[in-house]
Amino acid sequence: MDIIEILNGIFRQVFDDDTLVVSRATTANDIEEWDSLTHINLAVAVEMKFKIKFALGELQTLKNVGDMVDLINNKIARQ
């Protein structure tokens, strides 16, 4: 499965909304519930799913779903 599809599942779970569809361009402004705290919850859920670990300092730099996909790819490639 594509990373973005898996992410979509995680987003639906974290934001408790089964109609949510995310694309690379989706940002926190597009999802009302996406604040700095759900951001962290999201990151932790992503970490568990992909069995990767984000550095603390990386979390603030993830401004949209595309950034997230790239960073996940990066981390998987390095493993």
Partner: protein
């Protein structure tokens, strides 16, 4: 040295800029950075040279620890694990800050708890210590996690001491700053950045000198001098402080960002009209933004990650603990702890409402938020519990609403007489102008565009030029008495 002093504006800043760009033009980029480091240390020492070794020691220590952490090649050869080095580094920083900032508070509490009589050490808080310590804590964590590598002591020292942010932030990240110091295009004088920087600098200076400082005497009279306050006096005192704090700190931040821009360095913005916030979550996205980011990244997240499972309850506990710590970071006193805990609790309530999708009319939401923030700042300003209670008593009407003299000779006409303000605000040495100063400041904060919005719209035109000339002249002429920034005490 203070941004709001003649020696800074007419001597220090122009000279720093001129020599910096001159050295760069001669392709002496290392010398230019060394110059910037030198002026930054000079800027720091102007206040008290005694503390220069302290900041230098802290820099050397953290540079060494950071180097050890980033040096993953020799990882295998190391006798101690990276984690142990990180823990050592963090502990040393916390102890360092703890000694200078919290020792007397600790001794005082021990004394009152065990009825002992240990003498206080009377330690004077070195300027900027809270800020340069947490900046470096973030650096160590980033180095541990492999995000940064710094092999150059000069660059590192410049990152920590760069004078626009040294004393009170914005709190910076190494990986955001270093590429900027190294980029070649930062080294050429850029007139657009220079004019934008001056524009921001004078807006900030205006906020500090004309607005914040004008409110300070009322705040002092209300909080420090008066013995009891009536309803009107207490609200004027508290609202004046809320305005003073915002214009002081956001003014400082504007000046910092402005000076950074003159050196082609983009510093993060710290404020975005916080008093327009419609809930407490929103407030923390707008108030001291670089600190909120630091708290979320380096306090909240590790606390949450240390939980076995990520649940709503765990994340609420993590928020509360993080805000509690942040309150204590602001100052060694129970009032700061209460302030932090209040905001932690408010965030928890806010997240609960959000989860239950509770909506309220926007005005009501704003009203509740603003009043909560305003009340919480009473703890932030008060020197102790008794002082806070004194102000609260007044605000909740326990000491009467207005002085007896006012309704004894009340007539509508009196309101327009200069005596009115004097009788009404006798307890805080107020005048008629006290009311409108506070009101005007409040309206500025609530209705006008903030400096970020003004920067985005900035166009070099005659109108902008006239605007800057008018506010800068007015401010410079009013800069008679130099006053420190409120956030320097943290």
């Amino acid at each position: 040295m203070l941004f709001n002093s003649y020696e800074f504006i007419f001597f220090f800043l122009p000279l720093s800029l001129a020599v910096y760009y001159l050295l760069n033009r001669k392709r002496l980029t290392v010398a230019a950075n060394a110059w910037l480091l030198f002026v930054s240390l000079f800027f720091y020492s102007w206040w008290n040279v005694k503390y220069l070794p302290l900041i230098l020691g802290s820099i050397l220590f953290n540079y060494t620890i950071g180097g050890l952490l980033a040096d993953s090649d020799s990882l295998k050869k190391k006798a101690v694990s990276n984690k142990a080095i990180l823990v050592f580094g963090l502990t040393a920083n916390i102890l360092f800050l703890g000694y200078f900032k919290y020792m007397d508070f600790f001794i005082g509490n021990v004394n009152s708890l065990f009825a002992t009589n240990l003498p206080l050490l009377q330690i004077i808080l070195p300027l900027g210590i809270s800020f340069f310590t947490i900046t470096q804590i973030a650096y160590l964590v980033d180095a541990y996690e492999g995000l940064v590598k710094e092999k150059n002591l000069l660059s590192y020292a410049l990152f920590v001491t760069f004078f626009p942010h040294l004393l009170a932030g914005p709190i910076l990240h190494h990986k955001e700053m270093m590429p900027q110091f190294d980029a070649l295009r930062s080294k050429v004088l850029n007139y657009k950045n220079l004019s934008l920087g001056l524009f921001l600098f004078f807006i900030g200076l205006f906020k500090k000198v004309v607005i914040a400082d004008a409110l300070s005497s009322i705040v002092k009279a209300g909080f420090d001098k008066s013995l009891s306050l009536n309803f009107v006096e207490a609200w004027v005192t508290s609202l004046s402080y809320t305005c003073q704090l915002y214009f002081d700190f956001s003014g400082y931040s504007d000046m910092a960002v402005g000076v950074g821009l003159m050196f082609n360095i983009i510093l993060p913005i710290n404020f975005n009209s916080p008093y327009k916030a419609v809930n407490v979550i929103d407030f923390w996205k707008r108030w001291h933004i670089s600190l909120s980011n630091f708290i979320t990244t380096y306090l909240y997240t590790p606390i949450l990650r240390s939980c076995s499972r990520i649940t709503f309850t765990h994340s609420m506990i993590a928020i509360f603990v993080a805000m509690f710590i942040s309150g204590f970071w602001h100052g060694a006193g129970w009032t700061f702890i209460i302030w932090g805990a209040l905001h932690g609790a408010a965030l928890v309530v806010n997240h609960n409402w959000k989860k239950r999708k509770i909506k309220m009319p926007k005005f009501l939401a704003w009203f509740i938020t603003f009043n909560f923030v305003n009340l919480s700042f009473v703890f932030f300003r008060a020197k102790g519990w008794d002082e806070a209670i004194k102000v609260f008593k007044g605000m909740f009407g326990l000491n009467g609403f207005i002085p007896v003299e006012v309704y004894e000779n009340f007539s509508l006409l009196n309101i327009f007489r200069s005596k009115f303000g004097k009788t009404m605000l006798a307890g805080i040495d107020g005048r008629n102008s006290t009311f409108w100063m506070m009101l005007l400041a409040l309206l500025f904060a609530l209705l006008l565009k903030n400096s970020n919005e003004l920067t985005k719209e900035f166009k070099p035109s005659w109108r902008t030029f006239a605007f800057v000339i008018i506010i800068s002249f007015y401010t410079l002429l009013n800069m008679g008495k130099v006053s420190e920034f409120l956030y320097f005490q943290f």
